[in-house]
Amino acid sequence: MKIKKYLLALLLGSSAFLMAGSLGAQELPVAEAADAVEAVADAIPFDEAYAAFMETPGAAFFTISNLWLLISAALVFIMHLGFATVESGLGQAKNTVNILFKNVFIISMGIITYALWGFNAMYPGFAEGSAGVFAMGSWFDVTASVDLMTSEYADYTWYTDFIFQAMFAATAATIVSGAVAERVKLSSFMIFATLLVTFAYPITGSWQWGGGWLSARGFYDFAGSSLVHGFGGFAALACALILGPRAGKYVDGRIKPILGHSMPLATIGVFLLFLGWFGFNGGSVLNADPYLVSLVFVTTALAAAAGGLGSIFTSWIFLKKPDLSMGLNGILAGLVGITAGADAIAPKFAILTGLIAGILVVFSIIFFDKVKIDDPVGAISVHGVCGIFGTLAVALFGDAAGFGIQLIGTLSIGAFAFIFSMIVFGLLKVTIGVRVSPEEEAEGLDIGEHGQEAYPDFANSSR
Protein backbone atom coordinates (compact mmCIF):
# COMPACT_ATOMS: atom_id res chain seq x y z
CA MET A 1 0.00 0.00 0.00
CA LYS A 2 2.01 2.86 -1.29
CA ILE A 3 -0.26 5.40 0.18
CA LYS A 4 0.03 4.11 3.73
CA LYS A 5 3.77 3.98 3.33
CA TYR A 6 3.69 7.57 2.26
CA LEU A 7 1.71 8.75 5.24
CA LEU A 8 3.83 6.74 7.64
CA ALA A 9 7.12 7.84 6.19
CA LEU A 10 5.95 11.40 6.24
CA LEU A 11 5.11 11.13 9.90
CA LEU A 12 8.37 9.52 10.84
CA GLY A 13 10.40 11.85 8.72
CA SER A 14 8.72 14.89 10.13
CA SER A 15 9.09 13.88 13.71
CA ALA A 16 12.70 12.84 13.27
CA PHE A 17 13.33 16.23 11.80
CA LEU A 18 11.45 18.02 14.49
CA MET A 19 13.41 16.32 17.21
CA ALA A 20 16.62 17.38 15.53
CA GLY A 21 15.44 20.96 15.57
CA SER A 22 17.55 22.32 18.35
CA LEU A 23 19.82 24.71 16.56
CA GLY A 24 17.08 27.28 16.73
CA ALA A 25 18.04 30.82 17.37
CA GLN A 26 14.64 31.57 18.73
CA GLU A 27 11.94 30.17 20.91
CA LEU A 28 8.42 29.76 19.65
CA PRO A 29 6.67 32.81 21.00
CA VAL A 30 3.94 30.71 22.55
CA ALA A 31 3.04 33.08 25.27
CA GLU A 32 2.94 36.09 23.01
CA ALA A 33 0.90 34.18 20.52
CA ALA A 34 -1.62 33.24 23.15
CA ASP A 35 -1.92 36.84 24.23
CA ALA A 36 -2.42 37.97 20.72
CA VAL A 37 -5.12 35.43 20.10
CA GLU A 38 -6.97 36.68 23.10
CA ALA A 39 -6.53 40.23 22.01
CA VAL A 40 -8.18 39.38 18.76
CA ALA A 41 -11.06 37.72 20.50
CA ASP A 42 -12.68 41.04 21.24
CA ALA A 43 -12.95 42.16 17.66
CA ILE A 44 -14.06 45.72 18.13
CA PRO A 45 -10.67 47.18 18.81
CA PHE A 46 -9.33 45.56 15.64
CA ASP A 47 -12.08 46.95 13.48
CA GLU A 48 -11.74 50.40 14.94
CA ALA A 49 -7.98 50.48 14.83
CA TYR A 50 -7.95 49.18 11.31
CA ALA A 51 -10.55 51.71 10.17
CA ALA A 52 -8.46 54.43 11.74
CA PHE A 53 -5.40 53.23 9.90
CA MET A 54 -7.25 53.22 6.62
CA GLU A 55 -7.92 56.92 7.15
CA THR A 56 -4.24 57.78 7.43
CA PRO A 57 -2.40 59.26 4.46
CA GLY A 58 -0.14 56.24 4.24
CA ALA A 59 -3.10 53.92 3.70
CA ALA A 60 -3.23 54.53 -0.03
CA PHE A 61 0.33 53.42 -0.63
CA PHE A 62 -0.19 50.52 1.73
CA THR A 63 -3.32 49.46 -0.13
CA ILE A 64 -1.62 49.66 -3.51
CA SER A 65 1.42 47.79 -2.31
CA ASN A 66 -0.68 45.13 -0.70
CA LEU A 67 -2.70 44.69 -3.86
CA TRP A 68 0.43 44.47 -5.94
CA LEU A 69 1.80 41.70 -3.75
CA LEU A 70 -1.45 39.80 -3.99
CA ILE A 71 -1.46 40.11 -7.76
CA SER A 72 2.17 39.03 -7.70
CA ALA A 73 1.18 36.00 -5.67
CA ALA A 74 -1.34 35.14 -8.38
CA LEU A 75 1.36 35.58 -11.03
CA VAL A 76 3.76 33.36 -9.12
CA PHE A 77 0.96 30.84 -8.74
CA ILE A 78 0.60 30.59 -12.49
CA MET A 79 4.27 29.70 -12.72
CA HIS A 80 3.28 26.33 -11.32
CA LEU A 81 1.19 25.76 -14.40
CA GLY A 82 4.20 26.89 -16.37
CA PHE A 83 6.38 24.30 -14.68
CA ALA A 84 3.73 21.63 -15.15
CA THR A 85 3.48 22.26 -18.86
CA VAL A 86 7.20 22.72 -19.53
CA GLU A 87 7.95 19.49 -17.74
CA SER A 88 5.23 17.47 -19.37
CA GLY A 89 6.00 18.94 -22.78
CA LEU A 90 9.65 17.96 -22.47
CA GLY A 91 8.76 14.51 -21.16
CA GLN A 92 7.42 11.54 -23.03
CA ALA A 93 3.69 11.07 -23.49
CA LYS A 94 3.69 7.94 -21.39
CA ASN A 95 4.76 9.88 -18.28
CA THR A 96 2.55 12.90 -18.70
CA VAL A 97 -0.12 12.10 -16.12
CA ASN A 98 2.60 11.45 -13.59
CA ILE A 99 4.29 14.79 -14.23
CA LEU A 100 1.03 16.70 -14.07
CA PHE A 101 0.03 14.88 -10.92
CA LYS A 102 3.27 15.76 -9.19
CA ASN A 103 2.72 19.41 -9.98
CA VAL A 104 -0.85 19.35 -8.73
CA PHE A 105 0.34 17.69 -5.57
CA ILE A 106 3.28 20.02 -5.02
CA ILE A 107 1.29 23.21 -5.16
CA SER A 108 -1.43 21.78 -2.90
CA MET A 109 0.99 20.33 -0.42
CA GLY A 110 3.27 23.37 -0.58
CA ILE A 111 0.60 25.85 0.42
CA ILE A 112 -0.66 23.73 3.28
CA THR A 113 2.71 22.84 4.79
CA TYR A 114 3.88 26.41 4.44
CA ALA A 115 0.91 27.39 6.57
CA LEU A 116 1.52 24.62 9.07
CA TRP A 117 5.25 25.11 9.47
CA GLY A 118 7.20 26.84 6.74
CA PHE A 119 6.19 30.46 7.00
CA ASN A 120 7.04 30.85 10.63
CA ALA A 121 10.21 28.84 10.22
CA MET A 122 11.37 31.07 7.41
CA TYR A 123 10.49 34.40 9.00
CA PRO A 124 11.31 33.72 12.59
CA GLY A 125 12.38 37.19 13.40
CA PHE A 126 15.92 36.28 14.36
CA ALA A 127 17.13 38.77 16.88
CA GLU A 128 19.17 41.57 15.32
CA GLY A 129 22.70 40.47 14.73
CA SER A 130 21.99 36.94 15.92
CA ALA A 131 23.19 35.43 12.69
CA GLY A 132 20.42 32.86 13.01
CA VAL A 133 20.63 29.54 11.26
CA PHE A 134 17.55 27.61 12.16
CA ALA A 135 14.19 28.18 13.75
CA MET A 136 11.18 26.08 14.53
CA GLY A 137 8.07 26.67 12.50
CA SER A 138 4.45 26.72 13.54
CA TRP A 139 0.94 27.38 12.32
CA PHE A 140 1.20 30.55 10.31
CA ASP A 141 -1.78 32.28 11.75
CA VAL A 142 -0.58 32.82 15.29
CA THR A 143 -2.15 36.21 15.66
CA ALA A 144 -4.38 38.53 13.74
CA SER A 145 -3.90 41.84 15.44
CA VAL A 146 -4.10 45.16 13.73
CA ASP A 147 -0.30 45.38 13.80
CA LEU A 148 -0.17 42.56 11.32
CA MET A 149 -2.67 44.08 8.93
CA THR A 150 -1.31 47.57 8.63
CA SER A 151 1.95 49.27 7.79
CA GLU A 152 3.11 48.47 11.27
CA TYR A 153 3.89 45.10 9.78
CA ALA A 154 5.13 46.05 6.35
CA ASP A 155 3.76 47.60 3.18
CA TYR A 156 1.34 44.69 3.08
CA THR A 157 -0.63 42.55 5.49
CA TRP A 158 0.54 39.45 7.27
CA TYR A 159 -1.83 37.40 5.11
CA THR A 160 -0.40 38.87 1.95
CA ASP A 161 3.07 38.10 3.18
CA PHE A 162 2.08 34.51 3.77
CA ILE A 163 0.39 33.90 0.45
CA PHE A 164 3.14 35.58 -1.57
CA GLN A 165 5.82 33.54 0.15
CA ALA A 166 3.76 30.35 0.03
CA MET A 167 3.59 30.54 -3.74
CA PHE A 168 7.39 30.74 -3.82
CA ALA A 169 7.88 27.85 -1.46
CA ALA A 170 6.53 25.08 -3.65
CA THR A 171 8.80 26.16 -6.50
CA ALA A 172 11.84 24.45 -5.07
CA ALA A 173 10.17 21.06 -5.20
CA THR A 174 8.83 21.69 -8.66
CA ILE A 175 12.35 22.27 -9.92
CA VAL A 176 13.38 18.90 -8.56
CA SER A 177 10.33 17.33 -10.13
CA GLY A 178 11.58 18.19 -13.59
CA ALA A 179 15.01 16.70 -13.06
CA VAL A 180 13.78 13.39 -11.68
CA ALA A 181 10.92 13.03 -14.13
CA GLU A 182 10.16 9.84 -16.00
CA ARG A 183 11.72 7.46 -13.48
CA VAL A 184 11.11 8.56 -9.91
CA LYS A 185 8.78 6.57 -7.72
CA LEU A 186 5.75 8.67 -6.96
CA SER A 187 5.39 8.00 -3.23
CA SER A 188 9.08 8.60 -2.58
CA PHE A 189 9.04 11.81 -4.51
CA MET A 190 6.00 13.00 -2.62
CA ILE A 191 7.69 12.35 0.71
CA PHE A 192 10.88 14.02 -0.43
CA ALA A 193 9.09 17.02 -1.87
CA THR A 194 7.11 17.44 1.31
CA LEU A 195 10.19 17.36 3.52
CA LEU A 196 12.11 19.66 1.19
CA VAL A 197 9.41 22.29 1.01
CA THR A 198 8.35 22.07 4.61
CA PHE A 199 11.69 21.90 6.37
CA ALA A 200 14.68 22.51 4.14
CA TYR A 201 13.53 25.46 2.08
CA PRO A 202 12.54 27.64 5.05
CA ILE A 203 15.93 27.05 6.66
CA THR A 204 18.03 28.53 3.87
CA GLY A 205 15.26 31.03 3.34
CA SER A 206 15.63 32.24 6.90
CA TRP A 207 19.36 32.74 6.43
CA GLN A 208 18.64 35.67 4.17
CA TRP A 209 15.01 36.72 4.03
CA GLY A 210 14.37 35.71 7.62
CA GLY A 211 17.17 37.96 8.75
CA GLY A 212 19.68 35.17 9.42
CA TRP A 213 23.41 34.91 9.10
CA LEU A 214 23.69 35.58 5.38
CA SER A 215 21.67 38.74 5.50
CA ALA A 216 23.76 39.81 8.46
CA ARG A 217 26.83 39.54 6.26
CA GLY A 218 25.52 41.60 3.40
CA PHE A 219 24.53 38.83 1.03
CA TYR A 220 22.22 40.04 -1.70
CA ASP A 221 19.60 37.88 -3.36
CA PHE A 222 16.74 40.06 -4.44
CA ALA A 223 14.11 37.51 -5.45
CA GLY A 224 15.90 34.23 -5.09
CA SER A 225 18.43 33.26 -7.74
CA SER A 226 20.04 31.28 -4.96
CA LEU A 227 17.35 30.99 -2.32
CA VAL A 228 14.77 29.59 -4.68
CA HIS A 229 16.35 28.54 -7.95
CA GLY A 230 19.84 27.61 -6.83
CA PHE A 231 18.31 25.78 -3.92
CA GLY A 232 15.99 23.84 -6.20
CA GLY A 233 18.70 23.23 -8.75
CA PHE A 234 21.10 21.71 -6.26
CA ALA A 235 18.44 19.59 -4.66
CA ALA A 236 17.68 18.44 -8.21
CA LEU A 237 21.33 17.63 -8.81
CA ALA A 238 21.51 15.47 -5.71
CA CYS A 239 18.34 13.60 -6.64
CA ALA A 240 19.40 13.11 -10.24
CA LEU A 241 22.72 11.70 -9.03
CA ILE A 242 21.07 9.27 -6.64
CA LEU A 243 18.43 8.27 -9.12
CA GLY A 244 20.64 7.70 -12.14
CA PRO A 245 19.72 8.38 -15.72
CA ARG A 246 16.64 7.16 -17.53
CA ALA A 247 16.99 3.78 -19.17
CA GLY A 248 18.28 4.18 -22.68
CA LYS A 249 19.65 7.67 -22.22
CA TYR A 250 23.32 6.77 -22.11
CA VAL A 251 24.08 3.63 -24.05
CA ASP A 252 27.58 2.39 -24.77
CA GLY A 253 29.02 5.78 -24.01
CA ARG A 254 26.68 7.47 -26.45
CA ILE A 255 24.03 9.99 -25.49
CA LYS A 256 20.66 9.11 -26.91
CA PRO A 257 18.28 12.01 -26.56
CA ILE A 258 14.80 11.21 -25.35
CA LEU A 259 12.66 13.80 -27.03
CA GLY A 260 9.91 15.74 -25.34
CA HIS A 261 6.46 14.82 -26.60
CA SER A 262 4.86 18.22 -27.12
CA MET A 263 6.63 21.41 -28.05
CA PRO A 264 3.43 23.49 -27.77
CA LEU A 265 3.07 22.43 -24.14
CA ALA A 266 6.69 23.31 -23.44
CA THR A 267 6.29 26.69 -25.10
CA ILE A 268 3.10 27.47 -23.20
CA GLY A 269 5.01 26.67 -20.05
CA VAL A 270 7.87 29.03 -20.74
CA PHE A 271 5.63 31.94 -21.65
CA LEU A 272 3.64 31.37 -18.46
CA LEU A 273 6.84 31.28 -16.45
CA PHE A 274 8.01 34.51 -18.10
CA LEU A 275 4.63 36.06 -17.24
CA GLY A 276 4.76 34.79 -13.67
CA TRP A 277 8.26 36.14 -13.25
CA PHE A 278 6.89 39.69 -13.42
CA GLY A 279 5.23 38.81 -10.13
CA PHE A 280 8.17 36.80 -8.83
CA ASN A 281 10.61 39.66 -9.31
CA GLY A 282 8.18 42.56 -9.43
CA GLY A 283 6.49 41.48 -6.23
CA SER A 284 9.82 41.03 -4.51
CA VAL A 285 10.13 44.80 -4.37
CA LEU A 286 7.67 44.21 -1.53
CA ASN A 287 5.75 47.35 -2.33
CA ALA A 288 4.45 49.22 -5.32
CA ASP A 289 7.25 51.76 -5.53
CA PRO A 290 6.92 53.02 -9.10
CA TYR A 291 10.59 53.45 -9.76
CA LEU A 292 11.68 50.11 -8.39
CA VAL A 293 8.87 47.97 -9.71
CA SER A 294 9.19 49.41 -13.18
CA LEU A 295 12.97 49.01 -13.12
CA VAL A 296 12.52 45.39 -12.08
CA PHE A 297 10.04 44.79 -14.91
CA VAL A 298 12.52 46.22 -17.36
CA THR A 299 15.55 44.30 -16.15
CA THR A 300 13.53 41.10 -15.95
CA ALA A 301 12.17 41.41 -19.47
CA LEU A 302 15.51 42.46 -20.95
CA ALA A 303 17.34 39.58 -19.32
CA ALA A 304 14.73 37.07 -20.43
CA ALA A 305 14.82 38.34 -23.99
CA ALA A 306 18.61 38.40 -24.05
CA GLY A 307 18.66 34.89 -22.61
CA GLY A 308 16.37 33.70 -25.37
CA LEU A 309 18.55 35.28 -28.04
CA GLY A 310 21.69 33.99 -26.38
CA SER A 311 20.48 30.40 -26.45
CA ILE A 312 18.99 30.62 -29.91
CA PHE A 313 22.18 31.85 -31.49
CA THR A 314 24.44 29.66 -29.39
CA SER A 315 22.50 26.59 -30.40
CA TRP A 316 22.39 27.76 -33.98
CA ILE A 317 26.11 28.33 -34.18
CA PHE A 318 27.33 25.41 -32.12
CA LEU A 319 24.58 22.88 -32.63
CA LYS A 320 23.91 23.45 -36.30
CA LYS A 321 20.24 24.37 -36.11
CA PRO A 322 18.12 26.76 -34.04
CA ASP A 323 16.77 24.57 -31.28
CA LEU A 324 13.38 25.62 -29.91
CA SER A 325 13.86 23.81 -26.63
CA MET A 326 17.15 25.62 -26.14
CA GLY A 327 15.53 28.95 -26.90
CA LEU A 328 12.94 28.17 -24.25
CA ASN A 329 15.59 27.18 -21.71
CA GLY A 330 17.47 30.36 -22.60
CA ILE A 331 14.53 32.56 -21.62
CA LEU A 332 14.31 30.76 -18.32
CA ALA A 333 18.07 31.01 -17.86
CA GLY A 334 17.91 34.75 -18.40
CA LEU A 335 15.09 35.01 -15.88
CA VAL A 336 16.90 32.96 -13.25
CA GLY A 337 20.04 34.96 -13.92
CA ILE A 338 18.49 38.35 -13.27
CA THR A 339 16.46 37.25 -10.26
CA ALA A 340 19.15 37.98 -7.70
CA GLY A 341 19.83 41.46 -8.95
CA ALA A 342 16.70 42.56 -10.71
CA ASP A 343 16.66 45.81 -8.76
CA ALA A 344 20.39 46.18 -8.51
CA ILE A 345 21.61 45.67 -12.04
CA ALA A 346 21.25 48.43 -14.63
CA PRO A 347 19.27 47.66 -17.78
CA LYS A 348 22.29 47.34 -20.01
CA PHE A 349 23.87 44.90 -17.63
CA ALA A 350 20.57 43.08 -17.35
CA ILE A 351 20.89 42.38 -21.04
CA LEU A 352 24.42 41.17 -20.48
CA THR A 353 23.37 39.01 -17.55
CA GLY A 354 20.61 37.44 -19.58
CA LEU A 355 22.82 36.92 -22.58
CA ILE A 356 25.51 35.18 -20.56
CA ALA A 357 22.93 33.03 -18.79
CA GLY A 358 21.40 32.10 -22.12
CA ILE A 359 24.77 31.05 -23.52
CA LEU A 360 25.81 29.38 -20.29
CA VAL A 361 22.71 27.23 -20.10
CA VAL A 362 23.38 25.64 -23.47
CA PHE A 363 26.85 24.57 -22.53
CA SER A 364 25.73 23.55 -19.08
CA ILE A 365 23.05 21.26 -20.49
CA ILE A 366 25.62 19.73 -22.82
CA PHE A 367 28.04 19.36 -19.94
CA PHE A 368 25.62 17.53 -17.67
CA ASP A 369 24.80 15.21 -20.51
CA LYS A 370 28.47 14.59 -21.06
CA VAL A 371 28.96 13.57 -17.46
CA LYS A 372 25.85 11.43 -17.71
CA ILE A 373 23.68 13.27 -15.24
CA ASP A 374 20.28 12.92 -16.79
CA ASP A 375 18.02 15.92 -16.37
CA PRO A 376 15.04 15.68 -18.75
CA VAL A 377 14.11 19.35 -18.62
CA GLY A 378 17.46 20.99 -17.94
CA ALA A 379 16.45 22.02 -14.42
CA ILE A 380 19.92 21.71 -12.94
CA SER A 381 21.38 23.97 -15.61
CA VAL A 382 18.58 26.50 -15.68
CA HIS A 383 18.03 26.82 -11.95
CA GLY A 384 21.25 25.55 -10.41
CA VAL A 385 23.95 26.85 -12.69
CA CYS A 386 22.20 30.05 -13.72
CA GLY A 387 21.12 30.53 -10.10
CA ILE A 388 24.78 30.68 -9.07
CA PHE A 389 25.67 32.86 -12.00
CA GLY A 390 22.81 35.24 -11.25
CA THR A 391 23.89 35.57 -7.64
CA LEU A 392 27.40 36.40 -8.71
CA ALA A 393 26.12 38.79 -11.37
CA VAL A 394 24.89 41.04 -8.56
CA ALA A 395 28.50 41.64 -7.63
CA LEU A 396 29.83 41.62 -11.19
CA PHE A 397 27.33 44.04 -12.71
CA GLY A 398 26.09 46.01 -9.76
CA ASP A 399 27.29 47.19 -6.42
CA ALA A 400 24.70 45.81 -4.07
CA ALA A 401 27.09 43.25 -2.65
CA GLY A 402 30.65 42.02 -2.83
CA PHE A 403 31.75 39.03 -4.83
CA GLY A 404 32.99 37.14 -1.80
CA ILE A 405 29.77 37.09 0.15
CA GLN A 406 27.80 36.36 -2.99
CA LEU A 407 29.96 33.34 -3.61
CA ILE A 408 29.76 32.18 -0.02
CA GLY A 409 26.03 32.70 0.03
CA THR A 410 25.17 30.89 -3.15
CA LEU A 411 27.49 28.01 -2.34
CA SER A 412 26.18 27.66 1.19
CA ILE A 413 22.62 27.55 0.00
CA GLY A 414 23.44 25.14 -2.80
CA ALA A 415 25.46 22.96 -0.48
CA PHE A 416 22.71 22.80 2.10
CA ALA A 417 20.14 21.85 -0.54
CA PHE A 418 22.51 19.29 -1.99
CA ILE A 419 23.42 17.68 1.31
CA PHE A 420 19.89 17.70 2.66
CA SER A 421 18.69 16.05 -0.53
CA MET A 422 21.51 13.55 -0.56
CA ILE A 423 20.64 12.44 2.96
CA VAL A 424 16.86 12.42 2.69
CA PHE A 425 16.62 11.08 -0.84
CA GLY A 426 19.43 8.63 -0.03
CA LEU A 427 17.52 7.37 2.99
CA LEU A 428 14.44 6.96 0.85
CA LYS A 429 16.50 5.02 -1.64
CA VAL A 430 17.70 2.49 0.89
CA THR A 431 14.31 2.19 2.57
CA ILE A 432 11.33 2.31 0.25
CA GLY A 433 13.29 2.90 -2.95
CA VAL A 434 13.21 5.96 -5.18
CA ARG A 435 12.98 4.48 -8.62
CA VAL A 436 10.24 2.63 -10.41
CA SER A 437 10.96 -0.81 -11.79
CA PRO A 438 12.57 -1.03 -15.23
CA GLU A 439 9.31 -2.53 -16.53
CA GLU A 440 7.29 0.37 -15.21
CA GLU A 441 9.77 2.85 -16.61
CA ALA A 442 9.58 1.16 -20.02
CA GLU A 443 5.81 1.04 -19.96
CA GLY A 444 5.47 4.54 -18.60
CA LEU A 445 4.69 5.87 -15.16
CA ASP A 446 1.20 6.87 -16.13
CA ILE A 447 0.04 3.30 -16.25
CA GLY A 448 2.33 2.16 -13.46
CA GLU A 449 1.67 4.83 -10.85
CA HIS A 450 -1.75 6.10 -11.83
CA GLY A 451 -3.41 3.54 -14.05
CA GLN A 452 -4.30 6.40 -16.32
CA GLU A 453 -3.15 7.55 -19.70
CA ALA A 454 -2.74 11.18 -20.67
CA TYR A 455 -4.17 10.72 -24.16
CA PRO A 456 -6.31 7.61 -23.94
CA ASP A 457 -8.69 8.51 -26.64
CA PHE A 458 -8.11 5.76 -29.13
CA ALA A 459 -8.41 2.91 -26.66
CA ASN A 460 -11.42 4.72 -25.43
CA SER A 461 -13.70 3.71 -28.19
CA SER A 462 -13.29 0.19 -26.96
CA ARG A 463 -14.79 0.55 -23.53
Binding site: I255, P257, L319, K321, D323, V362, I365, I366, D369
Partner: protein
Amino acid sequence: MKLVKAVIKPFKLEEVKEALADIGIEGMTVTEVKGFGRQKGHTEIYRGSEYTVDFLPKVMVEIVVDDADAEKTTDAIVKAAKTGKIGDGKVFVIPVESATRIRTDETGPEAL
Protein backbone atom coordinates in the same frame (compact mmCIF):
# COMPACT_ATOMS: atom_id res chain seq x y z
CA MET B 1 -7.92 -10.79 -55.14
CA LYS B 2 -4.79 -8.98 -54.07
CA LEU B 3 -3.90 -6.61 -51.33
CA VAL B 4 -1.79 -3.83 -52.76
CA LYS B 5 0.15 -2.38 -49.85
CA ALA B 6 2.06 0.78 -50.62
CA VAL B 7 4.31 2.84 -48.39
CA ILE B 8 4.58 6.38 -49.73
CA LYS B 9 5.64 9.88 -48.74
CA PRO B 10 2.82 11.59 -46.83
CA PHE B 11 2.44 14.56 -49.14
CA LYS B 12 1.98 12.24 -52.10
CA LEU B 13 -1.24 10.80 -50.70
CA GLU B 14 -3.47 13.22 -52.52
CA GLU B 15 -1.87 12.48 -55.89
CA VAL B 16 -1.99 8.75 -55.32
CA LYS B 17 -5.64 8.99 -54.41
CA GLU B 18 -6.39 10.85 -57.59
CA ALA B 19 -4.38 8.46 -59.73
CA LEU B 20 -6.31 5.58 -58.27
CA ALA B 21 -9.61 7.31 -58.86
CA ASP B 22 -8.58 7.76 -62.49
CA ILE B 23 -8.27 4.02 -62.93
CA GLY B 24 -11.53 3.42 -61.16
CA ILE B 25 -10.37 2.37 -57.73
CA GLU B 26 -13.02 3.32 -55.27
CA GLY B 27 -11.80 2.14 -51.91
CA MET B 28 -8.66 2.19 -49.84
CA THR B 29 -7.48 2.29 -46.27
CA VAL B 30 -4.72 4.59 -45.12
CA THR B 31 -2.48 4.39 -42.07
CA GLU B 32 0.08 6.78 -40.65
CA VAL B 33 3.34 4.87 -40.26
CA LYS B 34 7.02 5.46 -39.71
CA GLY B 35 9.43 4.08 -42.24
CA PHE B 36 12.98 2.93 -42.05
CA GLY B 37 15.07 2.22 -45.13
CA ARG B 38 17.89 3.51 -47.25
CA GLN B 39 16.71 7.04 -46.71
CA LYS B 40 18.63 7.20 -43.50
CA GLY B 41 16.93 10.09 -41.84
CA HIS B 42 18.80 13.10 -40.62
CA THR B 43 21.41 13.41 -38.02
CA GLU B 44 19.89 15.96 -35.74
CA ILE B 45 20.91 17.59 -32.52
CA TYR B 46 18.54 17.83 -29.59
CA ARG B 47 19.71 19.78 -26.60
CA GLY B 48 23.29 19.27 -27.61
CA SER B 49 23.41 15.58 -28.34
CA GLU B 50 23.42 14.17 -31.79
CA TYR B 51 20.98 11.51 -32.82
CA THR B 52 19.62 9.99 -35.95
CA VAL B 53 16.02 10.33 -36.91
CA ASP B 54 15.78 6.79 -38.21
CA PHE B 55 12.10 6.60 -38.65
CA LEU B 56 10.56 8.97 -41.10
CA PRO B 57 6.88 9.70 -41.42
CA LYS B 58 5.26 7.74 -44.22
CA VAL B 59 1.77 6.80 -45.18
CA MET B 60 0.66 3.26 -45.88
CA VAL B 61 -2.10 2.77 -48.41
CA GLU B 62 -3.84 -0.56 -48.54
CA ILE B 63 -6.14 -1.45 -51.40
CA VAL B 64 -7.73 -4.78 -52.12
CA VAL B 65 -8.36 -5.27 -55.82
CA ASP B 66 -9.30 -7.94 -58.26
CA ASP B 67 -6.40 -10.07 -59.40
CA ALA B 68 -6.58 -8.46 -62.80
CA ASP B 69 -6.24 -4.95 -61.38
CA ALA B 70 -3.24 -5.53 -59.16
CA GLU B 71 -0.71 -4.53 -61.74
CA LYS B 72 -2.36 -1.43 -62.99
CA THR B 73 -2.98 -0.38 -59.41
CA THR B 74 0.68 -0.85 -58.61
CA ASP B 75 1.65 1.08 -61.69
CA ALA B 76 -0.68 3.93 -60.89
CA ILE B 77 0.72 4.23 -57.40
CA VAL B 78 4.30 4.04 -58.54
CA LYS B 79 3.72 6.75 -61.08
CA ALA B 80 1.86 9.08 -58.77
CA ALA B 81 4.13 8.63 -55.76
CA LYS B 82 7.44 8.98 -57.54
CA THR B 83 9.61 11.97 -56.80
CA GLY B 84 12.74 10.16 -57.89
CA LYS B 85 14.36 10.91 -54.57
CA ILE B 86 15.35 8.35 -52.03
CA GLY B 87 12.57 7.33 -49.66
CA ASP B 88 9.77 7.25 -52.17
CA GLY B 89 8.66 3.92 -50.78
CA LYS B 90 7.52 0.53 -51.97
CA VAL B 91 4.50 -1.27 -53.25
CA PHE B 92 3.88 -4.83 -52.17
CA VAL B 93 1.27 -7.23 -53.54
CA ILE B 94 -0.13 -9.87 -51.24
CA PRO B 95 -2.69 -12.56 -52.07
CA VAL B 96 -6.13 -12.22 -50.55
CA GLU B 97 -8.46 -15.17 -50.24
CA SER B 98 -11.72 -13.50 -49.55
CA ALA B 99 -13.36 -10.15 -49.07
CA THR B 100 -16.69 -9.36 -47.48
CA ARG B 101 -18.60 -6.10 -47.41
CA ILE B 102 -19.95 -5.77 -43.89
CA ARG B 103 -22.97 -3.74 -44.87
CA THR B 104 -24.38 -6.21 -47.42
CA ASP B 105 -22.61 -9.50 -46.74
CA GLU B 106 -21.52 -9.48 -50.37
CA THR B 107 -18.32 -11.39 -50.87
CA GLY B 108 -15.63 -11.63 -53.51
CA PRO B 109 -14.92 -8.89 -56.04
CA GLU B 110 -18.42 -7.49 -55.52
CA ALA B 111 -17.40 -6.58 -52.01
CA LEU B 112 -14.68 -4.21 -53.12
